[in-house]
Structures are given as structure tokens and as C-alpha cells.
């Protein structure tokens, strides 16, 4: 008698995490970019080591500083190679970055319909320098992209909080603030823990609260 194994997918269901990282020139100050690089590396390492997952966590990084760059295409956390560090320079073309991510989210070959609800994480220390409103509107209105969970972190005092608050669509997660490098680490640890808990639960689609009160022995470094 034939079995059903031959009809089942050989790949686990993906849980995409997309990081939209502001790498404009102002991120150079107070080593914000250094903190971001370290936090991203820590997040990827942690997710790659997690063995209890009910999903294959895929991480993608889009940077926007001067130009928009696909720093890391959506890749399983377990096979991500050592990444070149993000460099800070130029203006803040956030709208163009939204368009690129919108394309990822609508692409069923890249993110299949069996994927768990993606998470988009936006980090910015400034104000967009391009026409971001229309690309953002499209991101929020399209069939698939609007269903992704959107989180945001304001880095430093100059960030456009109104814009970043608009970006968020997760009731459990307010706008997070980074006053120093330590806060960026804490934010990424919290997101890592939330995604890890979500992807080990019986219902990996369900968003979980993100708590920033994580014990840490990091030094408090002001920007």
C-alpha cells in the first residue's frame, strides 16, 4: 500500500523576519551602526541555535542609507553566512525600502502562502528623505503585505515618531525607543525571544507580547 509521505513538503513552514535598517549617515554617530550590527548578529545566532522551532525562521535585511540595498535576501537562519557589516552613509530613502519589502511580501515564490505571518522590523534614527507616504500606503493596503506584523524602533531623539507609530500594526507592541546602544540590543533580544516563543508554540501565527525588561549584563553606552 502506498503511503502519504511522498505528497508532503520536504521543507518546514517558513516564518519570515524582515529587518528594515536605517543606515543613513546619522547612524554613524555614537556607534549606533555598530550596536545595530552586533544586535543583528546576536539575533541571527540565537535563532540559528534554537532547536525547538515549529518553523524554519528566515531572516532578510534591507538597508536604506544613500541607496536601498538587499543586505541579506530571505535566508534560513541556520544557513546564514557571516554577513558584511552595515555601513552608515547618505540620506534616508525609506519609501524605496518599503517598495522593496512590499515586493518580497507579495511574491508567493519567495514567501509561500503556507508561511507563517511575517514580521517586519523597522529601525530608524531620522526622517525619510524620499516620498515614503505612497509606498507605505501600498504596503499597508495590499492583499498580503498588510497581514505582516510590523514593529518599529526609534533610534535617538531625531526619529520621526509620528511616522514610526503609523508603521506599527501590532497592538501588543508599542513604538520602542533606543536612547543608547544597549536599548538596540535589548530590543533585538526581545524580538528574538518573542519570535522563538511564537515559533515553538502550537500556534506560530499568533503574535506574542514583546517585553523589553530582559536582564542583561551589557554596559549602558550613551549615544
Amino acid at each position: 500500500m502506498s503511503g502519504l509521505k511522498q505528497f508532503a513538503m520536504a521543507e518546514a513552514r517558513p516564518l519570515p523576519i524582515i529587518v528594515l535598517a536605517d543606515t543613513s549617515g546619522s547612524m554613524e554617530g555614537a556607534d549606533k551602526i555598530g550596536a545595530l550590527n552586533a544586535a543583528l548578529k546576536e539575533m541571527i545566532d540565537s535563532l540559528a541555535k534554537e532547536s525547538r522551532l515549529r518553523a524554519d525562521i528566515h531572516v532578510g535585511i534591507v538597508s536604506f542609507g544613500g541607496t536601498v540595498t538587499q543586505h541579506l535576501p530571505l535566508t534560513s537562519a541556520q544557513i546564514i553566512p557571516a554577513l558584511p557589516e552595515l555601513k552608515a552613509h547618505g540620506a534616508t530613502p525609506m519609501g524605496e525600502a518599503f517598495t522593496l519589502v512590499h515586493g518580497w511580501l507579495e511574491d508567493k515564490n519567495l514567501i509561500p502562502s503556507r508561511a507563517y505571518r511575517p514580521v517586519i522590523i523597522l529601525l530608524s534614527d531620522g526622517q525619510p528623505t524620499d516620498a515614503w507616504e505612497e509606498p507605505f500606503k501600498q504596503l499597508c493596503a495590499s492583499d498580503r503585505a498588510q497581514k505582516a506584523t510590523r514593529l518599529a524602533m526609534a533610534i535617538g531623539a531625531d526619529a520621526d515618531e509620528v511616522m514610526l507609530k503609523q508603521f506599527i500594526n501590532d497592538k501588543e507592541a508599542p513604538l520602542f525607543y533606543a536612547h543608547n546602544a544597549h536599548d538596540i540590543h535589548r530590543f533585538f533580544r526581545a524580538v528574538t525571544m518573542s519570535v522563538s516563543a511564537r515559533s515553538t508554540s502550537p500556534n506560530p501565527n499568533q503574535a506574542l507580547p514583546i517585553a523589553l525588561s530582559i536582564p542583561t549584563d551589557d554596559l549602558d553606552l550613551d549615544f
Binding site: 508532503a8 505582516a148 499568533q206
Partner: protein, 232 residues
Amino acid sequence: MVLKAFGASVIGPAHLLSHASNQDALSVRGRKWGWITAVCDGVGSCVHSDIGARAASKAVQHTLRENRMLMPHEATNADIHAKWLQHIKPYAVHEVATTCLYGQVLPSGEAIVGQLGDGLILYRENGVFHQFTPNRMGYGNQTAALWKQHAPEQWLNARFTLQKPGDGVILMTDGISDDLIADALPAFFEVIYQTALRCSRRQAKRWLQKELGDWATPKHGDDKTLAAIFRG
């Protein structure tokens, strides 16, 4: 005409690890007027979704055994929803929301199916395979479900006839359908039909339980439920 029906439901590894109950419900019942089956998947975010799924399964059986396919789809769906609201008492709707897939086949071969929410219905009519459920548009587990108000527009229905041996209908929860290779659905249907043809109902159920328990997709975690009715 000989109709053959069977089904199985297995608890997913994620619920086994968390000592939770199976949040799917299954019923496959045959009477003189044919077979009625229901496959329901409690919404994961609801604390008593297993109760909601079982209530929906009962509501389908109660509705369709009275109905005998005389009512239009809209009335059948509304009746299932009304009976479900009765069966879930004293729980609140937000504690027990569930998907609901049903099928009924009369001895004449006339068949109806209905679907609210995730999962997949396949059928073969006059030797021609059909994927009844459209492909999912969003991401996994974003589903319509039985809720406070009956939402006629969210139900999908079809009526067809099992004319030839091998014609039939298969219903399953998304714990299975989300992992199936799209191009392989006709062959998947055929393997299940061949099993029904060669085995007793009890043997087929055991085979299906084993197959669903040994599911091949890595890191799968969801409960898995499948029911089938075929013309022999």
C-alpha cells in the same frame, strides 16, 4: 451503489509537547440516506477551541441528517451555525471559534460540500479531479471561522454527483493541506481512494492514523484530520 467512508484525526506534535488536547474534530457517520462527515479545526488563539470544533461537528451531523440535501446551501450553512451556537453553551464564541468543513453523499451519489475557513476539499466527479478549495491568498492560519454572526459570504459550497467508481470527496484540516505538494493532489486523492477500496473501514482508519502520525514535513506541529467518502 456502494459508498465507502472513513476518517482519522491525530493530535499534532506541538499539542503533544504542551499537553494540550486535539483541537480538530472529526465525525464520519453513515445512515440509510448515505454518509455525512465533518472536519473542524478549532482556532488556535481560542482557549476552548477543541470544544468549539466538536460542537461544529455535531451541528453538521444534526443539520444534515434532518436536511437530506433538500435545503439550499445558504439555509444549510445558517442552520449549522445556529446549532453550533446552541452546542457551545455555556462557552463564549471567542473561546471556541472553529473552522467547519462538511460533506454529505446520498446513496444516489448526489453530494454536497461546504467550507468555512482553512482546510481543503477535493472531489472527483465523473472521473475528473477537482480542487474545490481555492488556493490561500494570505499566509498560514489566517482563517474565517464560526463566530457570533452567521456570515453567508464566507462559506463556500458545491453540489455534484459521484457517478463512477472512484468518484469521491476528501476533506482535511490545514494541518495536512498546508504541507501538501500542490501538483500531487490528484495522486494524493488516488492513494486514499485505493486504500478505501482495499481495506475495511477500520483498517483504512488505522492506516490513515499511522500516515498522519508519521507526517514527513520537517517541524510540523499541527493536529491533522482527514475524512473521505468514495463511490466503490
